[in-house]
């Protein structure tokens, strides 16, 4: 009994346990860092894909590469009656952007 208590009160081996805890903390930190970097990489990849899709959509719509769909524009003067004009509407595949031109 006296031996166990004296072992508990002894400071021998304390540096070893410190090192073990320190290693645990550093390992957790490394794991966290790896997860965060991996997550930011995924977000970046997704953003790059969205960017590419966006610029493709601009090209389809502005240059009229998309197949046009018939639509009707309404032009309304203040205090007057509205006029409808038939147009060709250009939308990209994902429906992100729209532009139009008068038919013919």
């Amino acid at each position: 009994m006296k031996k166990s208590v004296s072992r508990l009160l002894s400071r021998a081996g304390e540096s070893f346990s410190e090192v073990l805890v320190a290693i645990l903390i550093v390992a957790m930190a490394a794991l966290l860092l790896a997860s965060m970097v991996s997550a930011s990489g995924s977000i970046d990849r997704a953003t790059r894909e969205e960017d590419e899709a966006f610029y493709e959509a601009i090209s389809e719509v502005e240059e009229g590469n998309a197949a046009p769909v018939p639509g009707t524009i309404t032009v309304k003067p203040d205090g007057g009656s509205a006029i409808n004009i038939d147009v060709d509407v250009y939308k990209d595949v994902d429906g992100m952007l729209s532009a139009y031109r008068v038919k013919g």
Partner: protein, 215 residues
Amino acid sequence: MRRVWGKLKSSAGASILFAILVFMLCILAGTAALTAAAANSGRYTHLKAEQQKYLAVSSAAKLMRNQLAKNNFTATKVTTTTDPGSGGTPSTTSDGYKISDENFTFSDSWFTDCFEKAANGESISPNQKTFTITLDDVPDVTADVTVSANYQVTVELYVGTEKDNLTNLTLVPTRENLPTETVRAESGGNVTTTTTQKFTVTWQEENAVISQGRN
């Protein structure tokens, strides 16, 4: 005091302190990487909205150019001079220029009124009218149309009250004076001379200029 100094000089627990420092550095680095990635992905939504506004205004400008360039009219002024002869005083009457054979896309009497005043050298008021151009899934575009005394039509197009993507369209007119017709008639000693003056005004797409303003 000695115990405190002893504690400060002691190296016990240094490895844990170092480990906690490394932990904090790793958290900082990871947070910075995540924040940068999140900030980069957020700009896409703003870009899309801005591009759609630009497309709406650009399409509306080309539509207005196409429609206004189809406009044309003829202005006619008939002046009647009656000369009673034998020392009498001739009298002249005229109603000024009247717009006829007009072809205005937006079928609005405002255009007729403006161009009639311009033809007669009167001040055009009101010389501006606002149109709203709408299409499903596209932001509404406001077009402020202004008519000048020289028949030039200027359109200011924008989205919203902040005048986003301001675009200007200018249509330069072509005026052509037609030959003056004079008819002379005599009746009961009175000589009546009727003079008809005419000119036409047209606009063409080739004479239209679209330019981006501020914003």
